[in-house]
């Protein structure tokens, strides 16, 4: 009986995260089109519903009702599993994300490692999709993307090592609690270079502009998902936006105190005590999502060799250097604050 209750409880807590997440993804696409529209002096979607608010629903309906076309000579099994391989890790990571003081699906000790391991898996979806479609453009896109993801994953991992050194734990709840105190106790201050590297590497990992060479509409049509249609394409789309939200929420958890109130330690703290931690976390995450969209509207695509150079020759040495600095500061007992 106990085990049945446990399973029901787990399923409910998973649904409370996943269903809102899908809705959020739908409206992140809407806000992306509106915000980029605004930045480029356009209207964005306006037709479906009041000021285009039902546009994402219409998009979903369109994608669901379309046929999934499988190219001749494609490796059928892998062609159909690749989108799932992309989507599943990006959903699975949400199991260890602390959404408030109390709510986390599974509070495991190795949370940060779990996230690193799962984000490194999303590259399989890209590689296998590119290979299985049996198309030049798709293959080129997946090759580019694989090299890029490997390059940036290392810098990203090292940036997280800084967080690990300061908090002394891999548990995400502990990492947030270690940052409590005031806005200056959050890790963005001692780890500022690592935060910048983490965020930029995150943009590169999710294959978003200006690092979207794996899609590169102007050079290789649409990259690895050029042969996909209907729901198979929708899964890539979902995974991309889920990763975008994930990187944003992780940046706010690891460097900006997660669900901690920004007014902690000041006289304003009492007036904002009623605000639940989830609201603060969402606000911080929304700011990062906005930065993602802003980058896409502003910057042109990086040249491929410059992406590689940036990852290996700029980010990696900076992380090495800053980790040494942090190590020395911890040894001299200036850190953690």
């Amino acid at each position: 009986m106990d085990i049945i209750f446990y399973i029901i409880n787990t399923v409910i807590s998973i649904l409370t995260v996943v269903i809102p997440l899908f809705l959020i993804v739908a409206y992140v696409t809407y806000s992306e089109r509106k915000i980029i529209g605004f930045m480029q002096s356009r209207m964005g979607p306006t037709r479906v519903g009041p000021s285009g608010l039902l546009q994402p629903i219409a998009d979903v309906l369109k994608l669901v009702s379309k046929e999934i076309i499988i190219p001749t000579n494609a490796s059928k099994g892998i062609f159909l599993t690749a989108p799932m391989l992309m989507l599943v890790p990006s959903l699975l990571v949400w199991a260890v994300i602390p959404l408030s003081e109390l709510f986390i699906i599974s509070n495991i000790n190795a949370g940060l490692l779990f996230i690193l391991a799962l984000t490194s898996l999303s590259v399989y979806g890209v590689i296998l999709a590119g290979w299985a479609s049996n198309s030049k453009y798709a293959f080129l896109g997946s090759m580019r993307s694989a090299a890029q993801i490997i390059a940036y994953e290392i810098a990203m991992g090292f940036a997280l090592v800084g967080v690990l050194m300061l908090s002394g734990s891999l548990n995400l709840q502990v990492i947030i609690q270690e940052q409590s105190g005031s806005i200056f106790n959050w890790y963005w201050l001692p780890l500022f270079p690592l935060f910048l590297i983490y965020f930029i590497a995150g943009v590169a990992e999710t294959n978003r502009a200006p690092f979207d060479v794996s899609e590169g509409e102007s050079e290789i049509v649409a990259g690895f998902h050029v042969e996909y249609s209907g729901m198979a394409f929708a899964m890539f789309f979902l995974a991309e936006y889920m990763n975008l939200i994930l990187i944003s929420i992780l940046s706010s958890i690891l460097f900006f105190g997660g669900w901690l109130s920004p007014f902690q330690g000041t006289f304003l703290d009492i007036y904002f005590a009623f605000v639940p931690g989830f609201v603060w976390l969402s606000l911080k995450t929304m700011i990062f999502i906005f930065v993602f969209l802003w980058l896409r509207a502003t910057l042109p695509r990086y040249r491929y060799d410059q992406i590689m150079r940036l990852g290996w020759k700029v980010f990696l040495p900076i992380t090495f250097f800053w980790l040494t600095v942090i190590g020395i500061l911890i040894y001299l007992k200036y850190l953690p604050l």
């Binding site: 490796s75 490692l113 490194s120 290979w131 694989a146 150079r309």
Partner: protein, 198 residues
């Protein structure tokens, strides 16, 4: 039948199945994918023993990095699907010989311990804390620091030698010096010509 045993049986039999698929599938990409699955399943077995650090590291390093590069190389190859029968029968006696020898060794080694596997062997180690990540780190950086550093140096040497073996400076290489690219100013590239009539 406790739940550990059931999980162990399910995942180890799947592991054996995927391992066999690695060597029998005719398409190298499928072999690589099955190897990925077998890494996953063995990570689950580690997890069952309570070694969460090692199991996640297995996924992070082998699945997330090593196998990606494997797939990368395999996909670049011009794949000729291996012809069946031809090679198998030739190597069959040798294969069966090795199979028998290894299995006898494994059975001799594990015959006593197989009955009573201690699922808590790793998680019951409590040097400084309950998390085996911290325990492992503690042991690595105190008792085994020398071995740890030597392993690091050997890996560094491996990276350097791989680069030296493959790096060839091509005089015709169209390498673009980023410093010079950034250094370009408007007057270097633009020339305003006056006095031209249409």
């Amino acid at each position: 039948m406790n739940i550990e045993l059931i999980t162990f049986i399910i995942f180890s039999s799947l592991l054996i199945f995927t391992s066999i698929k690695v060597i029998t599938s005719s398409n190298p990409v499928l072999s690589a994918i099955n190897l990925v699955f077998s890494f996953f399943l063995s990570a689950v077995l580690w997890l069952l023993l309570g070694a969460e650090f090692l199991s996640i590291i297995l996924i992070l390093v082998y699945v997330g990095a090593v196998m990606v590069l494997f797939l990368f190389v395999v996909m670049m190859l011009d794949i000729n699907i291996a012809k069946k029968n031809a090679a198998y029968i030739k190597y069959l006696p040798l294969g069966i010989g090795i199979f028998i020898v290894f299995n006898i060794l494994i059975i001799l080694f594990f015959i006593n311990t197989f009955e009573n596997i201690n699922y808590n062997a790793i998680s019951s180690i409590n040097i400084i804390s309950e998390s085996n990540t911290e325990n492992l780190g503690f042991v690595l950086f105190t008792d085994y620091i020398l071995e740890f550093e030597i392993a690091g140096l050997i890996l560094l040497l491996g990276i350097l030698s791989a680069i030296i073996l493959t790096y060839r400076k091509n005089p015709n290489n169209k390498y673009q010096d980023p410093a010079r690219q950034i250094d370009v100013r408007k007057k270097d590239r633009l020339k305003v010509i006056k006095g031209l009539k249409e």
